[in-house]
Symmetry: C2
Amino acid sequence: MSVTVEDIAKACGVSRGTVDRALNNKPRISPETKEKILKVAKELGYRPDLLARSLVKGRTMSIGVVAFDLKNRFFAQLVNSIEAEARKRNYTINITLQEEDPELEIQLISSLVGRRIDGIILCPVNKGEEFSNFISSLPIPVLVIGNVLSPSIPYIGIDEAKAARDATNMIISKGYERIVFVCPPLYKRNKKNIYSHEQRLDGFLKTVKVHKEIEYGVVSGMNFIQKVDSLLDSSTKKTALFCSGDTFALDIIKHLRAKGKKVPQDVGIMGFDGIDTLEYVTPALGTVLYPVEKTGKKAVENLVEMINGKSIEKRILMKYKIIDGESL
Amino acid sequence: MSVTVEDIAKACGVSRGTVDRALNNKPRISPETKEKILKVAKELGYRPDLLARSLVKGRTMSIGVVAFDLKNRFFAQLVNSIEAEARKRNYTINITLQEEDPELEIQLISSLVGRRIDGIILCPVNKGEEFSNFISSLPIPVLVIGNVLSPSIPYIGIDEAKAARDATNMIISKGYERIVFVCPPLYKRNKKNIYSHEQRLDGFLKTVKVHKEIEYGVVSGMNFIQKVDSLLDSSTKKTALFCSGDTFALDIIKHLRAKGKKVPQDVGIMGFDGIDTLEYVTPALGTVLYPVEKTGKKAVENLVEMINGKSIEKRILMKYKIIDGESL
DNA sequence: TTGAAAGCGCTAACAG
DNA sequence: CTGTTAGCGCTTTCAA
């Protein structure tokens, strides 16, 4: 079908080895033959078969990405920056979405390994020792983003608990009498890896417990909007809702608006993540700005290091930023 | 390094051919040997090298996607559905982002072809005969989304011009005296493929010219916000802005809000695309709902058909929907 | 400076 | 039912 090294060799009356030397700028070839080979290669429209090359070289120059889905702004932004950084380094990315299905995740990872990609950036939904062992047993390096797996598997992200503490303190400083942590995913903590949300909860609880005067609560489950509703009706204390993700905050704001309640007059709202959607939302949401783009970039940098046999830090923390919006 | 067919063959005292028959459910093998081989394969933790398989099979079971970037909601949603549908069909996707760089786009496509992917879904930024010829000359099928390239290259999308006509008529029915088409990308029409925006403009113009009583205008360029501003100051006619993309509309709304102007009281706004961000935006933006997810799904379906040697329609049109929001 | 041959791991074809 | 061989397209090694 397409042109091969063999074809060029024949056309030039040389051997495949010589063609290889010409095509890949290797020494031990005369300038004349080289020039001729390059010319013929161009004429024939030669395109190297990267598949065959990978087979012999033992690396594919591609990295696998396993994420939840791309509807989620966080992952879209993340993958965007991963691709950009990978491209800079001549890597291609293979994206697979596990849609929060633990079994699918394992399948996808296996498939990626089978494709002989050079490394994986993983946003895991699985957790536990068995899965961690599975990851550790893989023949290629894996870097984890978002949810920590085990101390021995490289992780890159932010200090979630500390960020939550800072955010909670910010809310407290606004004079709220009651703060409710809204964390819908919490109910799946037994089945899925929601490390980051648990850490955020932890940071929240630690902070709020110090302030005896402040009433606090935690809401979890997919029917969090109803729960929030009844909570708000149950007391007249000045209340703030600290949501463990911006989208939850936006859902609540939307609901409150429909009910005619006002933010922040009737209730204060704080988000987490700083997704780009916020740019167009009013009132401007207070949130914790997660440096997604930088995280993606850094992840590629470090994964490539690992691919090249270097060791990296097991826990790389990025700088987050507390954003004081109009919603508090 | 890792376990190969050869290893299993040796361990079982059979030939590679037999192992192949066992592993891939091929006939002409006794149940006992098959069972034994499968058992040993599992014990050794065998993982087929898909690279080697692809080399001999001539297909990689992966499809390439070339898009602008994933910050753009449209592409994030599109890629999300492409991945999901591809996964269903046991295809993996290779994503590359061209960031609206025509030369990079060509490079990326070449690289994908070199990797022997089975087909490409392309959201082109290039245009013109030369590029179309380049695409046609590729040894693998290409399906285009968004911007049409040439009638001979399969395209999937919506009837942009008709959608714009319908949208314009909807705006007119609201009693506006002046309608301005805001299309920032228009200024790059000579360098880049902005087919869809041009079609939208075309649909707008055709419709508005029929209504002699209505004043109309077109704004282009990245400083469209300023231009819109001075336009609004220049007349007291009841004006609507028909933006050729939702994000432009959102940018304008944001700006107007900052200036204290109200939508739709002071000016009506209509968008195009129906990106998911709109869910959280007020006032609810009137827009043209592009069936992104269905388009991505359909694209994979059709590309796979092409990969399997079947021919498909050259121009597949999806159903769009005019959304009457609160912004008009 | 160039050629020939081996081999990456797999599947396919043909014998046996 | 099973083994052997060739070959996918490339790179690498060892001779010449």
